[in-house]
Symmetry: C2
Subunit: 356 residues, 2 copies
């Protein structure tokens, strides 16, 4: 038995039916192609008798007809595609929820989301845009002025660059990376901490996220009248984390709490604390970003800032749909896509010991 199970690759020889065109439907229904088109698109000002309409619909059904997206795109000058540009270096675990949320939301408006992965240089971004000719682009990669204008001439009406902009650039709308930093700092301040540290990642690929997050911490400190955070670059090894922790805690004005760039950084910090025979939160408070599953497994479990990814993704999708419809000014549905998950690594003012 040589049936084609899944996993088999086949070249095109297999006798497969060609897809039916509207001409085929017209022939089968015994009408002109135009009539078919009018019926299937419910053309508003065309009079089609019920009998004819039914014949056309039956013929289309019998032939399993669907219109060619390419022909549609050529004729109308626009596709129904939304292109998402994503940097390969950043494949985190929220990606799936983020993408499927956007996919579903856009699908309600008959828009199809596809993702293209970019390497170090975003060279292929423009090529892909030319090939797909999407109506909108949402980019998680910084885009140069030239690239955006080139994409616009390539047909992309709406271009959203999610990453790297400042708050004002985003029309005061939504969650930038800064917000996570702000949330960390505000929470620590509210817990009574005044001298903060920031654990900055060593990997260059994280720069574009780390920089705005740190900026958010700085901004919050400024607004709250706290001294700026003491920033240390922490490579991902327990030993180097231990050294950084020593620096933070041993000065004349020691840091009492550290904002970690993300949860993985915080995990490394926890290992560094062990290395120094110290413990969170008694010797140093710690807060991460992301709420990865491992957060609940550590001892003590890690306090962190959770990004409400579905909410954020929905906001972006909504903004795109809105911009495509192109009427009233945009207003966000929510501006709080963030929440602090309180667990065991931040000591609150007044606590002597923290409960296990």
């Amino acid at each position: 038995m040589t049936s084609d199970g899944p996993g088999r690759a086949q070249s095109g020889e297999s006798a497969r039916a060609k897809r039916a065109t509207s001409t085929d439907v017209a022939r089968l229904a015994g009408v002109s192609r135009a009539t078919v088109s009018y019926v299937l698109n419910n053309a508003p000002h065309q009079k089609i008798s019920d009998a004819t309409r039914r014949r056309v619909l039956e013929a289309a059904d019998a032939l399993d007809y669907w219109p060619s997206a390419q022909a549609l795109a050529l004729a109308s000058g626009r596709t129904s595609l939304v292109l998402c540009l994503w940097p390969a270096a950043l494949a985190g675990r929220h990606l799936g929820i983020r993408m499927s949320t956007m996919t579903r939301h856009l699908a309600k408006y008959h828009l199809t989301l596809v993702t293209h992965w970019l390497g170090k240089d975003s060279e292929s971004a423009l090529d892909v845009c030319k090939i797909l000719n999407p109506v909108a682009v949402v980019s998680y990669v910084p885009l140069s002025e030239e690239e955006t204008t080139a994409m616009r001439t390539a047909g992309a009406d709406v271009i959203e660059v999610v990453v790297g902009g400042s708050r004002e650039d985003n029309s005061g709308v939504w969650l930038g990376e800064e917000s996570t930093g702000e949330a960390q700092a505000r929470y620590l301040a509210e817990a009574g901490h005044r001298r903060l540290g920031y654990a900055y990642p060593a990997a260059a690929r994280l720069e574009q996220f780390a920089r705005p997050r740190l900026a958010g911490v700085r901004q919050a400190c400024r607004e709250l009248g706290l001294p700026g955070p003491q920033v240390l670059t922490v490579p991902p090894t327990p030993e180097e984390a231990a050294a950084a922790i020593h620096t933070w805690t041993s000065g004349a004005r020691p840091v009492t709490a550290v904002c970690a760039y993300d949860d993985e950084m915080a995990l490394v910090m926890l290992a560094g604390l062990r290395e120094n025979e110290m413990r969170a939160p008694d010797d140093l408070s710690l807060i991460g970003v992301d709420d990865i599953p491992a957060c609940v497994l550590t001892d003590p479990p890690l306090t962190t800032v959770r990004i409400d990814v579905p909410a954020h993704a929905t906001e972006i999708a909504r903004k795109i749909v809105h911009a495509l419809s192109g009427d009233q000014p945009w207003s966000p549905l929510t501006d709080t896509c963030l929440a602090v998950v309180e667990r065991g690594t931040v000591r609150r003012q007044g606590d002597r010991r923290t409960a296990r």
Copy 2:
């Protein structure tokens, strides 16, 4: 200053240049459209004078002309797209490398990879296929017979379903999920273990991966003459892991080593061991799959099976390119996309204590 920074969404009003068509180029060069086409495509049997050729090339350059992918697709009947279907539930951290590897490899052959994210049900898979009309589909989601044939009539010449097939289905080619399970079991057997456990995940979304991995362990046990693994479903909490560990280790014929579905499962197991005041590898050996960064941070560091993702991705891309060219039978470049990373959680036969 109201310049359009990144992060701004714009609707289409901005006076942007329309893209140039080959008609524009023809007009500027003072020739017919056909001549333009012949020049730009280096038509083999057409005689074009050098002067004309140069004028056309200059005009195309001046207008920044590129052919419309939609028109090309309509005229030729095929696109240069490869569609990758990915289940949103499975966004792991290797995704970036996997995708960019495939993207780069396919780009060498002027194929563009785009990814579409599927939710629980793969309902939209076919729609996307109809919209994009890709030459090939590589799916990480199981596809029904109807779906594959429908995709073929939609124009996809090559369809690769990476997941879920058995070894034979994949034309004896490459790495299925089974292989990771096999590698775990073989390694443990070689280290002297004879009674193995398998820590099966509780989350339903992991079923499609867990099942073949477990099948691989079973297969290896059979081939090595070992009793089959004692399978326990382990929810992701330390307490429940501790209970499972108790079951494994306390019988008349206790298990001495456990294959964890993946590293996260192994991490939970480690927490469960702590809960029981036990330790790997002295009380129980443990091996994961994936080699996530956290592996080196645990105490002891986690022994695991690493998937050589770039190699695997390249194999898939090569297979697709090969199938599209459609000549000689396919042969893989490598069949070992797996490696065991030996760290501290597997006790080798003869060791009394394991070195830290």
